[in-house]
């Protein structure tokens, strides 16, 4: 039996659905983590592309009664009406009472008017029905059985329709709606609220890690609409949709500097202080390319981007003192750009697209309560394999008997201090039992940490090395595990490769082996 077979809980970035990250052990669902963010977000997918999570912009994609409404007469829609293409009883019947009626739903989150609406439809073969994206209809002829149909358009309104304009069908079943940016329908992705999906991120390689970030706001409006930024001094031309961007769509812009100058957007709201700007960019030719961020109203390149022929994300942290910052270049620069972001904080986080308003992505919180049977009570081991992307991006893992602001009162937690040191603390009824910490700040990159505990016998290993021990401690009861914790003001930012628990205190040789990078 391997060491992993003896674990009581193993969580890796593997299976997931909305609001849930499945545990590998146990496999009966009792160890599945709850994931809360209450917003959408972006990640880097397995193809290396920046991707909205979820990319399907349609909420409740298998319930065409949720948020849909009739226009121009009475329409009856019945959810869970019949057998859907996936064999479940989740199709929706839509019964129109006449031609020239619309069954409609608003779509939010569009950052690119070029989009595609796809849906499975079943009806009488040979009849026609219209599907519409952004105000553009596509009248399709129904084939026998379930078939997926789509419409791609440059939208003018934020709505999709299933309608009977210019068509003959009035009684259809539908299933699996999807709206995506761009002209490719993409594989169908089921959605409900769209808001609490774990992010399996491939930024660090070919294996995914679970991305955990703090709340951040992209304050800059029109983050990928450079042509419509409010101010420039006439020294540059912008060509929208010039190149394939880091999100895989033809939506990167070209900046050609015909003179030396700048372009910026008045973003409408701002808070002063430590701020990080970021952008994806690459050069379009091999000529002189002086291009970068201008800050605090300078209008000249204050931070030059080291451009190559490949897309890179550039970031710069500075003290924001006014609302005038943007991009600047010297004559001759010819650059492709995508995804400008300005966020309060000392490092950049994942891209948050904006259009007419600033946008906030909430913090990722992952937790599980009621699992006392999976956590060693009198003795046990907690192991985490974590990737720290940059300085000042702390991580926090807590074993406790509750979640929330007071969870630390009875807990063992692994925490990165503001000075970059890592500490493992244990509290019982608010009384500190032990505190084992590194003498210096830990580095960026991957770390493996294990804390093994029982009464009067605690030990911590970091990256294969014994960090410290304590021989005079009590252990609190445990029933919960939590990653990040906004209730204690946590601003965690890291990637999780795996988390594991054992209900025994592993020996030192095993801990050393387990935590060796």
């Amino acid at each position: 039996m391997s060491l992993l077979d003896t674990a009581s809980l193993i969580v890796t970035p593997n299976g997931y659905k909305e609001g849930k990250l499945y545990s590998v052990i146990p496999s009966d669902g009792s160890g599945d983590m709850s994931v809360t963010r209450a917003t959408t977000a972006t990640r880097v997918n397995s193809a290396g592309l920046v991707e909205l999570v979820p990319y399907n912009l349609l909420s409740w994609s298998q319930d065409f009664t949720n948020g849909w409404f009739a226009y121009l007469g009475s329409i009856t829609a019945t959810a869970n009406y019949g057998t859907a293409p996936d064999g479940t009883n989740t199709s929706t019947r839509i019964l129109f009472t006449s031609n020239n009626q619309i069954w409609a739903k608003a779509i939010s989150g569009l950052t690119n008017l070029n989009g595609t609406f796809s849906v499975w439809i079943k009806g009488v073969a040979g009849q026609t029905i219209a599907i519409s994206y952004g105000g553009t209809d596509n009248v399709v002829t129904l084939q026998s059985g379930w078939n997926r149909y789509s419409v791609t358009a440059v939208g003018t309104i934020d709505f999709i329709f299933i309608d009977t304009f210019g068509s003959t069908a009035t009684d259809i079943e539908v299933w699996g709606g999807q709206v995506v940016e761009g002209s490719t329908a993409k594989d169908y992705q089921k959605t409900e609220t769209r808001l609490n999906i774990p992010r399996l991120d491939y930024s660090n390689g070919t294996c995914p890690s679970l991305l955990v970030e703090p709340q951040r706001t992209n304050q800059y409006l029109k983050s990928n609409d450079f042509a419509n930024w409010s101010n420039n001094n006439g020294t540059n031309t912008i060509t929208p949709n010039y190149a394939i961007s880091p999100d895989g769509i033809m939506n990167a812009s070209r900046w050609v500097a015909t003179g030396t100058g700048y372009r910026y957007n008045l973003y409408g709201l701002f808070t002063l202080g430590t701020t990080t700007v970021s952008i994806y960019a690459k050069r379009n030719n091999s000529g002189t390319q002086k291009f970068g961020f201008f800050l605090n109203g300078s209008g000249t390149v204050d931070y030059e981007l080291n451009l190559t022929n490949e897309w890179q994300r550039f970031t710069y942290t500075f003290n924001l003192t006014n609302e005038y910052q943007g991009l600047s270049a010297e004559v001759g620069a010819d650059v492709s750009i995508y995804g400008y972001q300005l966020e309060a904080g000392s490092y950049a986080t994942s891209y948050i697209p904006t259009t007419s308003a600033s946008v906030t992505r909430n913090a990722d919180v992952i937790s599980k309560t009621g699992i006392s049977s999976l956590i060693g009570q009198t003795e046990g081991t907690l192991f985490v394999d974590v990737y720290r992307p940059n300085q000042a991006s702390p991580f926090l893992f807590t074993l406790a008997n509750s979640v929330g602001s007071n969870s630390y009162l009875n807990s063992i937690y692994i925490f990165q201090l503001p000075n970059d040191k890592m500490v493992v603390d244990c509290f019982v009824s608010g009384v500190k039992q032990f505190g084992i910490e590194t003498s210096v700040g830990i580095t960026n990159g991957r770390h493996k940490i294990a804390v093994a505990y029982k009464q009067n016998d605690a030990v911590v290993y970091l990256d294969g090395v014994l960090l410290g021990t304590d021989t005079s401690c009590n252990i609190p009861p445990f029933s919960a595990f939590e990653v990040n914790n906004v209730d204690i003001g946590s601003t965690s930012n890291f990637d999780i490769n795996s988390v594991a628990l054992w209900k025994t205190k592993l020996d030192n040789a095993t801990l050393a082996q387990l935590t060796t990078i």
Partner: protein, 117 residues
């Protein structure tokens, strides 16, 4: 629930958010931290909202911008609060939460509906 709030200044805003338990002070790792209260998913400091852009000559400000009165916050929470006159319903919101319609907290008419609706 998403609450859009306006106060006379930042100090007044913070005092009200703390009084309502939206922002709380907690002790963790031997230090006091400002944190979110029960049910609070996000507190976003909007700050100043630009109404009229400045008149610029190059990077020189010829006429100062005009900002909306007050200091602004957005709160997302599962709890119910009575913000009184501090709760506003902006016609043209300047901030949204990712994945949420910018107008989802307010009744509105879909833009494609004309007089026939």
């Amino acid at each position: 629930m998403i609450y859009k709030l306006t106060y006379e200044n930042k100090e007044q805003a913070l005092a009200d958010l703390k009084a309502k338990g939206i922002l709380v002070e907690v002790e963790f790792n031997g230090e006091k931290h400002e944190a979110y209260g029960n049910g609070v998913a996000a507190v976003v400091e909007i700050g100043l909202i630009l109404l009229t852009p400045p008149v610029m000559e190059g990077m020189e400000v010829i006429e100062e911008p005009i900002y909306a009165d007050g200091y602004h916050y957005d709160v997302m929470s599962s709890e119910l609060y009575d913000f009184g006159a501090n709760l506003v319903e902006p016609k043209n919101p300047k901030h949204a939460f990712a994945g949420h319609s910018i107008t989802e907290e307010f009744p509105y008419e879909p833009q494609f509906l004309g007089d026939e609706a």
